[in-house]
Structure formats: C-alpha cells, structure tokens
Subunit: 234 residues, 4 copies
Amino acid sequence: MAIRQRAIQAADKQERHEAILDAAERLLLRSPDRVASVSEVADEAGLAKGTVYLYFPSKEELLLALHERNVQGFFRSLFAILDAAAPVTVEHVLALTHRHMVDPPLFLPLASRCFGLMAQSIPPQTSLAFKQRMAERLERAGAGLERHFPALGSGQGLALLRHSYALILGLWQMSGATAVCPAASGGDARAPLAFSYPEDLDLALTALWRGVVGEAVGGASGVARTALPAAEAR
Amino acid sequence: MAIRQRAIQAADKQERHEAILDAAERLLLRSPDRVASVSEVADEAGLAKGTVYLYFPSKEELLLALHERNVQGFFRSLFAILDAAAPVTVEHVLALTHRHMVDPPLFLPLASRCFGLMAQSIPPQTSLAFKQRMAERLERAGAGLERHFPALGSGQGLALLRHSYALILGLWQMSGATAVCPAASGGDARAPLAFSYPEDLDLALTALWRGVVGEAVGGASGVARTALPAAEAR
Amino acid sequence: MAIRQRAIQAADKQERHEAILDAAERLLLRSPDRVASVSEVADEAGLAKGTVYLYFPSKEELLLALHERNVQGFFRSLFAILDAAAPVTVEHVLALTHRHMVDPPLFLPLASRCFGLMAQSIPPQTSLAFKQRMAERLERAGAGLERHFPALGSGQGLALLRHSYALILGLWQMSGATAVCPAASGGDARAPLAFSYPEDLDLALTALWRGVVGEAVGGASGVARTALPAAEAR
Amino acid sequence: MAIRQRAIQAADKQERHEAILDAAERLLLRSPDRVASVSEVADEAGLAKGTVYLYFPSKEELLLALHERNVQGFFRSLFAILDAAAPVTVEHVLALTHRHMVDPPLFLPLASRCFGLMAQSIPPQTSLAFKQRMAERLERAGAGLERHFPALGSGQGLALLRHSYALILGLWQMSGATAVCPAASGGDARAPLAFSYPEDLDLALTALWRGVVGEAVGGASGVARTALPAAEAR
DNA sequence: GATGAATGAGCTTTCATTCAT
DNA sequence: GATGAATGAAAGCTCATTCAT
C-alpha cells in the first residue's frame, strides 16, 4: 500500500518498529475495549499484514512491546529524580504515577491485558526476558527509593514498589468493573460502588506508604499535583 | 445422555444449577489457563449442551455466577465474624482472606477474568445487578468493620475493603506474571522478581491496614495462621 | 400454564386445533418476516410446547394447516358464487382474489413459504394428501368457471386458475424483492423497479384472462372494486 | 489444501470468484433441495473455508451472486436478439426462456430462494445494488421489446417482462409443489393436479402475450422449439 | 524486505422434537 | 391429556499466522 522505502538500515528498522507500535496505540486509544486485529494495525501503519510479522513475532508480543514502552517511560522519569541529588518525596513519586500511569488512558488497560497474556500466549522465553528487564528496573528503583527514604530497610523499597503497583492495577480493575454502565437506562441507575479511581488511588497509596515509610507521608488531597524536582525535566 | 431425573421442583433446579457450576469449577481447576467450552462443561456435568443454556443465558454469565458463588462464600464467613459479639482482629480478616481467596486455586484467576468480562460480554442489565449485589455486601462488611475498628471513620471501612481487595487482586496478577516459568529450561531459570504471593500479600495488607487502622495491626509473619473466633465455625 | 380443561370431546379438540392456528396467525401477523418458534406459538396460545405437538405432528405441518385454512376461505367464497345461478364475471373473481389473497397480509407470504416447505420438510404422505384436497378444489372451481365462461374449453378453467395463481404468487415475490428498502438511507433511494403490487397484478391478470376468455374482460382499473353477486354474502 | 496458485492478478481473482460459484452450482445441482454449507462449497472448490469468505462476504451473497450469473446469461442472449436488426418474435423469446430458465435445473429453484433471501439475510445495501442492476436490465429489455412489438405502448414492454417472469416463477413453484412425490409408495400415486411445467408454462405465457401483444402470438405447441435468429449465436 | 492471498481451527447458540412425570 | 425439561445437531464467521510471489 504505502510504498515506503525498504527499511535496510538498523535505524530505519527501529523507526518502523516504533511506527507499528504507534499505530497499535492509536487504535487502542480509539476503541479502548476491543483489541485491534493485526490487519487493522497494519492498515493504520500503512503497511501490509505480513510486514507487521517481520517486526513482531506475534500479536501478543506486539502488545507486550507496547506496554513495555509505556513502562519504560515511567521508569525513565523515576530514575531521573531518584538519581539526582535533590531529595525525593512521596509526592514526587505519586505525581509521576499519575502522569505516566493513571492519566494516560492506555497504560492500565494494556498492563492489565499483558498480565493475562503472560500466562497464556507469550512463549516462556520471551516472558522470562521481559520479566528480567522489569526486575532490573524495579531493583534499581527500589534501591533508589531506599536511598531517599532511610526508613526503608533493605529490600523494602522493592516491596513497596511492588505493592504500590498492585494497588494501582487492582484498584483500576475494580473501578472499571464498578463504573457506571452508560447504557443502563432508568432513573436510579446510580452506579453502585461508584468511586473515583484517581482520588481513591491516592488515598490507598498514601495509606500504604504511611504504613511503611512512616508519618512523613502527607495527606492524600493534592498529592498528585506536587511539583517535581528539577531533575525530572523529561 | 445422562438419564438423570428431570429437575421439576425448584429445589431440583437449584441443585442442577449448582451441579453445572461444580462441573465448570472442576474443569477450570483441571486446566487453569483455558476457559472450558460450554460443550465440555455440559459433558462434565453429564448433561447436553442445550441443557446448560437452560440454566445460564451464556457462557460468560456462567463464569460470573461461579465467581459470585466464590465471593459469597467469603462474605458469608466475613459476616459471621463481623455480626458476632466477639471482637474481630485484623488477623481474623486476613485468615479469612487466605482461606477463601488465596488458598483456593480458582478464586483469583476467576475474579481476574470476570473483571474483564464485565466490560465486554455481559449485558449491562446483568452487570449492573451483579455490581449492586456486590455493593450491598461491601457496604455491610464495611460497616461491620467500622464497628469493630473504632479507628475507622465513616466510609473508611468500605474503602479499606476496596483497597485490600485491589491489593489481593493486583498482587496476584503480578505474581502470576512473574512466577517461575516451569517450561523455562536451563539451570539459572531462577525466576527474576520472584516473590511468594501469599507471604508478600500479608506484608502488603498489613502495611495497608497499619496505615489506616493504626499500630494495633500485628507483624506480618504468621498472620494467616491465627485462629478464628468461634463464630466462624463454618 | 393456562390450565384449560382437557380437550376430550372431539369438538373441544377441534377448537384447540383452531386456537393454535389462531395463535400462529397472530404471531405471523405481528412479525411477518420471521417464523415464530413453536415455543412462542404455544405461549401465545396459552399452552405448553408439548401440547402443540399433540395437535400438529410438526411445525411445518402447522404452517401448512394454517395456509390451508386461508385457502379454504377463498374457495368457500368462490364456490358460493360459482354454484349460484347468477352470472359470474371476471370482476367478481378478481374481487375475491383481492379480498382473500392480496389484502390480507398473511396469505401470500405464507403460501410462498409453504411451496418451499412441500419440497423439504413435509412427509410425502401429508404432502400428497394436501395436494389432493387442493386438486379437488381446483377442479371443482375450474368446472364452475367453464360453466360461467362458455369461451373456456374443457380443462381451460383449471388452467386459467392455475396460471392466475402463479401470477399472483410470482408477482408478489417480485414485488417483495423489489420493494423499497426502508433502511436505505440517502436521497436517491428511489426504489428501482418499484411497482405497486395490487395494481400491477390487476393489469397482469386482466391481460391473462383477456388472452383466454376473450374481449369480455374489462379494463384493469377499478376491477377489484366491483360489487359481488349476492350469493357471496359471507 | 489445494496448493493452487495464488490469485494475485485481478483476472486470477475473477477466475477464482467464478470457480467458487461453479463449485456452489455443482453442489446445488447434485442435491437440489439442500443448501450446501460454506464448508462444502470450499471443499468442492478445493479451497479452505476462509478463502471463500475472501471472495464473498457471506453465504447468502454467494448464492445471490450465483443467481445473478444465471440471470446475466439470460439477458445477454436476450439483448443479443433485441439489439440485432432481425425481427424478434414471441417464439424467440420463449425459446430463450426455456434455454436459460426452464431447462437448466438450477435457475428456478435458485431464483426462488433468492427472493426469500432478499427480505432476510442480505444487507440492504447489497440488496439495493442488486435490484438496481436488475432494474437496468429489465428496462433495457423492455425498451427493446417495445421496438420489436409496436403493439406495446410505452412501459408495456417492462410490464410484460415482469408479468412473464412472475408466471415463470409462480408456475414453477406450483409445479414443484404439485409434482409427483417420488417417494410416495403405493400404486395409485398418480400425482393429483399433475401438469407438465414446461408445456403449461408455454400455454400461460402465450395467453398472457396474446392478451397484450395481440393475435400475432402463435399457438402454444412447439413454441419453444422455434429456431432463433442468427444474432443469438452464442 | 514487503506483500496480501490462503489457511483452518475454534466455539456459541438456537430450536424442533421427545418423553418422563 | 398436558406439561416443560432435556436433547443435540447444525453451521456460520473471524482472525492470527504462513508463505508464495
């Protein structure tokens, strides 16, 4: 279709790789509750179906790659502030969380799906490699956290990150599952269980961190709005 | 095929309803990562495919019903101790959590799938009804919690339950996603990120509750082993 | 459900027979383009599904019986005027055609379906019997026609009826197939081929009869509105 | 399965399109009273099921396409004689009718089914397009008829075609419905109402045309055997 | 490298009919 | 006679993936 140049240079390949991820991302954004078919992704990228398979071994791994790109964005920002000299507060971390995970409409649905994928369609080889890269990031971040929060004992930084992420993910799923059904007609269709995900998440994370880090953790309201230290220029 | 009696009385019908859920449960237990087809469920229950559709409008709703049965089991136990006079401790709640959610191999995978279902295949009508029943249970349990833990303000019991469940669910997904790949050959296939879900969950929940309820919450280790009050005879 | 009395007397049975046909007719009228399921017919008749099968050996034969009831209505009227002394004109016959076949919304769709049925789902035994009854009616009517229209030679009355019916049926199918698609949006959705079935049918029948009976046949317009002879009081 | 060449050129695609229609035709011919499943059609064409769906959006539209191919064959021949200079007689038209519609065993059953399809399973879009193509053919043929038969007024050519087709179709259905049941055992299974479709059709069409075109129309017997003008070489 | 034609496994749901009660 | 619970055959369509060109 689009007779782009062949990607011969490694840089060109990388570019096409990204272009496919971009296309998938656009599609996912456009209709969040269905997974686009490979055909659609190819079309959206202006490529043929077969070409997508030159860059990704399977549809699932494409999704996983997209997710990892999102994750990487978060960690890049996190490392930026953790590696800098300026002190890091809980508020800073929460702000990053919101910016990279909560606010973008794609991160959490995709993360959610990927956890399902791992157990099913991803070959163990690939799965393991992905996990190892995640492990490295988490350990590095956990260590950074422990540097900035002396209250954290060895290994507690990692655990705190893990628990925080679990909360972010689990609460998002519950919020999705308990959100108002738009189609539900009738007058009393007041959503049962309705709660606002972003606000409630702050409450939960704050409680969790307070339990671990101690009283230093501030009140929930406005947490996400805290300005970040200069290091996190992005 | 199976020439069982016809279920004519309402009680018989209820029984058959349960039998189908039992069959689905057995199948799910047997191969946790695939969803059995309706055909298989029917076979397993000794019924014809069409008969299953006499009792459940769709495969998805069968799954949801199975999940709700599990949930109900948990709440029944929870209400038993909350409604009794004896004081309830965090340990009691954690013990229930383990008994109903963590230890049975079906609860969490099914819960996870059901959150996905809600957004997709379940008709809004049904979805809403399910959520309403859940909301009632949660509110009742939240109120009970507030009675037993005076530190909890109004509405905090509900929020604590919500956050706990998010943690249970989210952490389970991460653990699943990070579990050792059994098929991964090679000697050093030591799982990266490996952590033991049940123990880590206790750590996380304890931290969360400590942050909300206060210091009363005990140390993590051994939490799940605490004996329950007599009310929870079951 | 409706615990009507058991139908023990033959008259009761006949009545229930009719009641089922009535129910089917109502359903067909209500949604002309789908065939109601046996279950629906039973419900509509206030009976259980199994009961319908006490009165009709199969769904198809139920449909056929309904059709035959319609046909019988037409022939009863036709015989009434043919057997009477008063002279019969083409207009009279056309008027009957409209009253019994064209105007009632059920006759033609049902007839159409029944012709399909005969070749498929109706046991030959039944099919033959139905055809024999039809043959008798047609022969009797054909003979009557020949009495009233001396221009018709022996056997031509029967043929004329046959051809007329073919025209009625075939033209109706074409009209259905060429009717305006209501859902077709856009401005120029002017139906291609559109023609008004009742008017066009009159034109066609008139041409046919003129070809056989001779010039006596009048103009098409207003044909169907001709008053009938007294014999057809009904 | 069948490792035929891939159809890359448009011409190859067209050919494969035809091949699928051929397969469907063969199947229909082989067992006239059932509709072959898509699976069977694919097998018969030496293709995979999915491949059929590459060429036809649905089973119903495949059937419709097959019908239209038949129809086109008839009109091609009709146009050939109408557009030629040589005078056209009714006999010529009847001969074409027999050759394309009556004699081939597929045309009429398929036509019959397609009229049913239009109202049901074909999307309005497609349905409308089909009707428009039919309308164009009919109008062109009607105009041609009026050129050759001066007795026909404006629009009467079209109407005559319509009525003729209705007769062809309707009479065929009746004949099918009244044909001898081969399976009907017993000695006196002489079909009631039996009449020979081809002969009776000629009678009917002749009568109809005589009614419209006038006395020029010849006797029925032997009509179909008339030699065609040279233009209709085909 | 790129294309897109071909593959074919996979699964839900409906509903006419039967027959135990 | 009446009921309605149980049966099970039947088939359409999608879409991830492959591979000939």
